[in-house]
């Protein structure tokens, strides 16, 4: 039963990584850049949701919507101000800029919201009123006489991840905008000749990725409720690893990479060593890349001339 517990919490953690990894992989696929500030957008999303719920007393759903809205705009503004002027610049310049944006966001958060940790409220709970009027708050589901505990956050996280994956896959493969994104990811020059506004498409990609980051931020902080300005950086790096693991640029790859990374990390923590778990995660990444340099589902680009 322990094994099952670990597996479920691994999948849940992996779902969060997968949602974040989608942002990395979509931006890489279309803008061909690594947006290292993506992790910090998660943190901003979590703070927005936190303040919406605790300071303004908004219901959780509205708090999440506010977080998505703010992060979507933030993503587009960052792209417009920091990355768009560098479209013709060498990729190293863009990479350094992205790291700069990451520090900028972290330190702005430090200035605005201080380093004192905030306790993220528990959104996913069930209030039950017993016959005698006594209220009990449940946050998990007990199965098999309490031997298997699944928290509601876990369920919500996994379901959200699946819905996002399905929605995004549909969007990319069937809508006009999604097809335009694929065209841009393959050949921006030719896409332009088709009448596709490449700048607009890149902006849209940042909007979607950042909106997803907000969702990931809320889910992350619901599972691990301590919120500080650096909350996003480690999950950001892990999710980037997941994206590379699955094959950067590939949406199913981000999903698979995220889930595997979450499960491996959780098992390593449970069965091997708490301290070594991250080392093990990255060792697995290195081995996978040695065998499959493009990642698990990455395409080895072979072009016919």
């Amino acid at each position: 039963m322990n094994f099952l517990n670990f597996l479920i919490s691994g999948i849940s953690l992996g779902s969060i990584y997968a949602i974040i990894a989608l942002g990395y992989t979509m931006v890489y696929g279309i803008a061909k850049m690594l947006n290292f500030a993506h992790g910090d957008v998660i943190m901003v999303g979590a703070y927005i949701c936190f303040f919406a719920a605790s300071s303004f007393g908004l219901p959780p759903a509205l708090g999440i919507l506010a977080a998505i809205a703010v992060c979507t705009v933030l993503g587009m503004v960052v792209e417009r101000l920091a990355y768009k002027p560098l479209r013709q610049a060498p990729s190293l310049a863009v990479l350094i800029t992205a790291i700069g944006v990451s520090y900028f966001l972290q330190n702005s958060a430090l200035l605005l919201w201080s380093s004192t940790p905030k306790m993220f409220p528990a959104f996913f709970v069930l209030k039950e009123t017993a016959a005698d009027g006594k209220e009990t708050v449940r946050n998990s589901l007990q199965l098999f006489d309490g031997r298997l505990t699944i928290s509601f956050v876990t369920i919500v996280t996994i379901v959200t991840c699946l819905v996002i994956m399905a929605g995004l896959t549909m969007f990319i493969s069937h809508t006009k905008m999604g097809k335009a994104m694929r065209a841009c990811s393959e050949d921006k020059g030719a896409a332009q000749l088709m009448g596709i506004n490449v700048d607009g498409t890149i902006s849209m990609t940042f909007a979607i990725g950042s909106g997803l980051a907000a969702v990931a931020g809320v889910l992350l902080c619901s599972a691990y409720p301590t919120l500080v300005p650096t909350t996003g950086s480690m999950p950001g790096i892990k999710a980037f690893t997941a994206a590379v693991f699955g094959g950067i640029g590939s949406i199913p790859g981000a999903f698979l990479g995220g889930l595997l990374l979450g499960v491996i990390e959780t098992f390593a923590k449970a069965y091997i060593s708490m301290q070594l778990s991250d080392a093990i995660v990255f060792a697995v990444l290195i081995i996978v890349l040695l065998v499959k340099p493009a990642g698990l589902l990455g395409r080895q680009i072979r072009e016919k001339v």
């Binding site: 393959e186 050949d187 332009q192």
Partner: protein, 236 residues
């Protein structure tokens, strides 16, 4: 005849390199006009300038009475200009049909079935391969796809950049047959080719470019018969 495209005295630079030096030419409605010349003469540069991918420092590009100097490249299709770029540049990871759909991107809503049928009628090979990813098509099929994709937007002017490049002679012949067929159906075509013989034999008029300048122009037959052209481009 009324000129649909008018290029006047364009000068294009790559950094400090003066690639196009005062080129002027016209394309009338319904014509096939070809720009021929050796490698590096500036044919593709001229075409890319018309398409808005490069900008001229002087002069003007006028299309159906409108100055294209400030129009961004992605707005050209909606104005009736479609280009088949050098090296075909089809979307290799998308299916044949999706590639064609991208050609109709600027049209509202879904691409019309009649347009798709029109292209499939021109290029029956593409219909057989509609669900196939473009990367698996042969070079000739990819060229047909690139042309079909451009036709999806019902262009007023179709620009073809080296459509015969890298194709086997039999396919080159097929491509030029298609160009003639399109011409018969009333499509106006601006054709850039290194294969001067083939290009001149289908073209109404031609311009010969040499190191960024127009050195001669005339009707297709005139240029084909001209001894100087024969010597320079047609192998004596």
């Amino acid at each position: 005849m009324e000129a649909i495209l008018k290029v006047e005295d364009i000068n294009v630079y790559y950094g400090s390199i003066h690639a196009i030096k005062g080129v002027s030419f016209e394309v009338a409605k319904g014509e096939i006009v070809t720009l021929i010349g050796a490698n590096g003469a500036g044919k593709s540069t001229t075409l890319n300038t018309v398409a808005g991918l490069l900008r001229s420092k002087t002069g003007s590009v006028t299309f159906r009475g409108e100055d294209l100097g400030k129009v961004p490249p992605h707005k050209m299709v909606a104005k009736g200009l479609a280009m088949v770029p050098e090296g075909r540049r089809v979307f290799l990871q998308m299916t044949t049909q999706e590639n064609l759909e991208m050609g109709a991107y600027t049209q509202k809503g879904k691409p019309s079935e009649t347009d798709l049928e029109m292209v499939y009628e021109q290029f029956p090979r593409l219909k057989e391969r509609r669900k196939q990813v473009a990367g698996t098509l042969s070079g000739g099929e990819q060229q047909m796809l690139a042309m079909g994709r451009a036709l999806m937007s019902h262009p007023q002017l179709l620009m073809l950049d080296e459509p015969s490049m890298g194709l086997a002679p039999i396919l080159v012949e097929q491509i030029f047959e298609i160009i003639q067929k399109l011409h018969k159906n009333g499509t106006t075509i601006l054709l850039v080719e290194q294969n001067a013989q083939a290009a001149l034999s289908v073209a109404d008029r031609g311009y010969v470019l040499e190191t960024g300048k127009v050195v001669t122009s005339g009707s297709g037959e005139e240029l084909l018969a001209s001894p100087a052209i024969k010597k320079a481009y047609l192998g004596g």
